[in-house]
């Protein structure tokens, strides 16, 4: 596609957060967060409940403003005042609840708020672009003229991801994209994430599911109680990750594993 000309080469730095803190009154939701996202890379953001993942996503989506710290985007310092500012800059977000209009068809949802020819909607052109986009993602949507209400959960997720790509963003953030999906649909979405990465976008993936994270992530950034708690790769073991997330090597997960091993008499 022609738009790919503006795409950055794989490995180029797209986004850098330094010392980002966010306070809600007396509560420090984020403190001194460092995060880098490169082009053509999937960065997984993991952490327990209350680790600050969602707050960080909202800061990047322009929903919240950081209390202190700087956000550098494509080498320039930026402020994300509101959601549309983030969109304009090229940071797209797929929210957990997808935010689709069930009464409208796939084409209308993809182009919602960004319709071609506002005074004489160009349905043909929009439909063609919708098909092109969905085909690039190898998405399996039977018809783009059906209302969203008739689609399955995985298909809706696909539409939501496709919509975030419509404006050709540099970075796409996915908040728990597989939380509500079945096995096959999860695999589809993971494929989709890899295809998006291969197109040269930077991807930020927020997930509770370690299996999914390890399947697609290039780097795994762990947050704990609003702070950075290490950067891992898929080379690290599951135990190391869990230890970083929970903050101790002796945690409920490791104790549970140990108990199970004992029960099967497999203790070494």
């Amino acid at each position: 596609m022609a738009q790919a000309a503006t795409r950055h080469a794989k490995g180029d730095l797209l986004l850098r957060l330094s010392d980002v803190s966010k306070q809600f009154g007396a509560v420090t939701a984020l403190s001194d967060i460092e995060l880098e996202v490169n082009a053509g890379e999937v960065v997984a953001l993991v952490g327990d409940n209350g680790a600050g993942k969602s707050t960080l996503v909202k800061v990047l989506a322009g929903v919240h403003q950081p209390t202190t710290g700087t956000i550098e985007y494509l080498g320039e310092k930026v402020t994300l005042d509101n959601p549309s500012k983030a969109l304009e800059l090229g940071i797209a977000t797929v929210f957990q609840d997808l935010a689709l209009c069930e009464n409208l068809d796939v084409v209308a949802n993809l182009f919602l708020g960004h319709e071609l020819a506002p005074w004489r909607l160009d349905e043909v052109q929009m439909e063609v672009r919708a098909w092109t986009l969905l085909q690039e993602l190898a998405a399996r949507i039977p018809s783009v003229r059906e209302p969203i209400a008739s689609l399955s959960g995985g298909q809706r997720q696909t539409v939501a991801i496709a919509r975030s790509l419509l404006l050709d963003p540099q970075i796409i953030m996915l908040d728990e994209p597989t939380a509500a999906l079945g096995v096959a649909q999860t695999a589809e979405v993971l494929n989709l994430i890899e295809r998006v990465r291969d197109r040269g976008h930077g991807v930020i993936l927020i997930s509770h599911n370690m299996e999914d994270v390890r399947a697609v992530a290039d780097r795994i950034v762990v947050l704990r109680l609003g702070r950075n708690n290490g950067v891992f790769t898929t080379a690290n073991t599951h135990e190391e990750l869990v230890a970083a997330i929970t903050g101790a090597s002796d945690n409920s997960v490791s104790r549970r594993t140990a108990r199970k091993l004992e029960a099967t008499g497999d203790v070494t």
Binding site: P83, L98, A99, L104, L112, E115, I148
Partner: protein
């Protein structure tokens, strides 16, 4: 993609590539789509057609005058004013909001017209502009209350109903009624002006021609873009049926006085509104906000502005409806816009297929629904029924319309249609 090899057309259309999609082309395909829709609760215009058939059968059995050409001409004269109000309420219903003050707004507007024109001696256009401006201001107020204070529109407009009625009584003063000059063009427009027959016939065949030409153009563009289209047979069939129906209607009305200009103007506004709702970004955003306001907001749509615009359009059309009603009755009175005007307009939109739950509807629903409502009202008048009975029957019709809407909505939900 395709741009690189335009000479080599792939065998399958872009939107027919998936094996799960049935190839619904040609007339049989269109018929199948229609059948599926109705079964799953997407009733479209079916209730209107069934309703009109039942109404005309019952009333013409009770009183043969009902189907007489001149009675139908009168019916169309009467339908225009309520139709305008219904057309406005469609915008607000699409958002899932409601405006209960449209009746009072039309009454106030007719009062403003009377006072400015007859009492204060302003020219008619200025008086109309005054009335319409009042409508726009009222809509702005509702939009502001909804956006700024999150006031539910049903409460805000219920308050507005009283306030506007009060204003209407206040400016009409103790006499309570102003007669508009009979010889004036505005009153003749509401009572006498009839379109010449040649023009009526011309306008009757125009939609068919536009349908065919537009259909051809869309087909050409879609096949160039490698998309499927419904096929020429379907378009031609639609055009032929539509043209036959319209020409017959004009012929039949022509046996009486003919097609009222007032109704033609109303239809013109319906066509414009239909375009605005279906083919503009504004219309699309109305549907989006009605379907899922939060999703619309996150897509970058200014939800508050969309809401404001819908309320303004609604009240403005209600004011225009009031002007039409005044010209039809040749008076501005304390009774204008009271009684069943409010609910008739809302019922018309709902019967025509606009959902009270937001996100579904069309401009045509105002036209079709108002024909049903007006046919009932006209038939009951012919039977010399008292207004007590008329109110009860209209109330029952509205209840039935809302029940049909709710049931259809439930069925759509279970069939995976929004």
């Amino acid at each position: 993609m395709n741009e690189t090899a335009p000479q080599k057309q792939p065998a399958t259309k872009l939107d027919r590539a998936d094996a799960r999609v049935r190839d619904d082309e040609r007339i049989a395909g269109a018929a199948r789509i229609f059948y599926d829709r109705v079964r799953s609760g997407d009733l479209g215009m079916l209730p209107v057609i069934v309703g009109l058939l039942i109404i005309s059968t019952v009333f013409s059995v009770l009183n043969p005058v009902f189907l007489a050409p001149n009675n139908l001409v009168n019916l169309l004269f009467d339908a225009a004013a309520v139709g305008f109000i219904a057309l406005g309420i469609v915008c607000v219903l699409l958002l899932g909001e409601i405006d209960l003050s449209i009746g009072s707004m039309s009454g106030l507007s007719s009062a403003i017209l009377g006072v400015l024109w007859v009492h204060l001696g302003f020219p008619v256009p200025v008086a109309i502009a005054g009335a319409v401006t009042m409508g726009a201001l009222t809509g702005l107020t509702y939009g502001f209350l909804r956006n700024r204070f999150e006031m539910p529109s049903f409460v805000a407009t219920l308050a507005g109903l009283l306030a506007l009625l009060g204003m209407q009584l206040y400016i009409l003063g103790p006499t309570g009624s102003i007669n508009l000059p009979f010889g004036s063009p505005l009153v003749r427009f509401g009572q006498i002006y009839i379109m010449p027959m040649w023009l009526s016939y011309l306008l009757a065949i125009l939609p068919g021609i536009i349908l065919v030409i537009g259909g051809l153009r869309v087909m050409k563009r879609r096949s160039e873009a490698n998309l499927s289209s419904s096929g020429m047979n379907v378009v031609v069939l639609k055009a032929v049926v539509l043209t036959a129906a319209l020409v017959f209607a004009v012929y039949y009305l022509g046996k009486g006085r003919g097609v009222p200009w007032m109704f033609a103007v109303f239809v013109l506004f319906v066509v414009v509104m239909d375009y605005a709702l279906r083919r503009t970004k504004w219309g699309r955003s109305l549907f989006a906000v009605g379907g899922n306001a939060e999703a619309a907001r996150r897509s970058g749509i200014n939800v508050k502005r969309v809401r404001l615009s819908a309320f303004v359009v609604c009240s403005t059309f209600a004011a225009l409806g009031g002007v039409f009603a005044a010209s039809r009755l040749a008076s501005s009175s304390q009774q204008a816009g009271t009684g069943d005007v409010n609910l008739n307009a809302i019922a018309a939109a709902v019967i025509g297929g606009t959902s009270l739950f937001g996100g579904r509807g069309s401009a045509w629903s105002a036209l079709l629904g108002v024909l049903v409502i007006q046919a009932i009202s006209n038939g009951l008048t012919l039977l010399n029924l008292s207004s007590s009975l008329r109110y009860m029957i209209t109330g029952a019709v509205l209840a039935i319309a809302v029940i049909v809407d709710s049931l259809a909505r439930r069925s759509r939900a279970s069939h995976g249609r929004a």
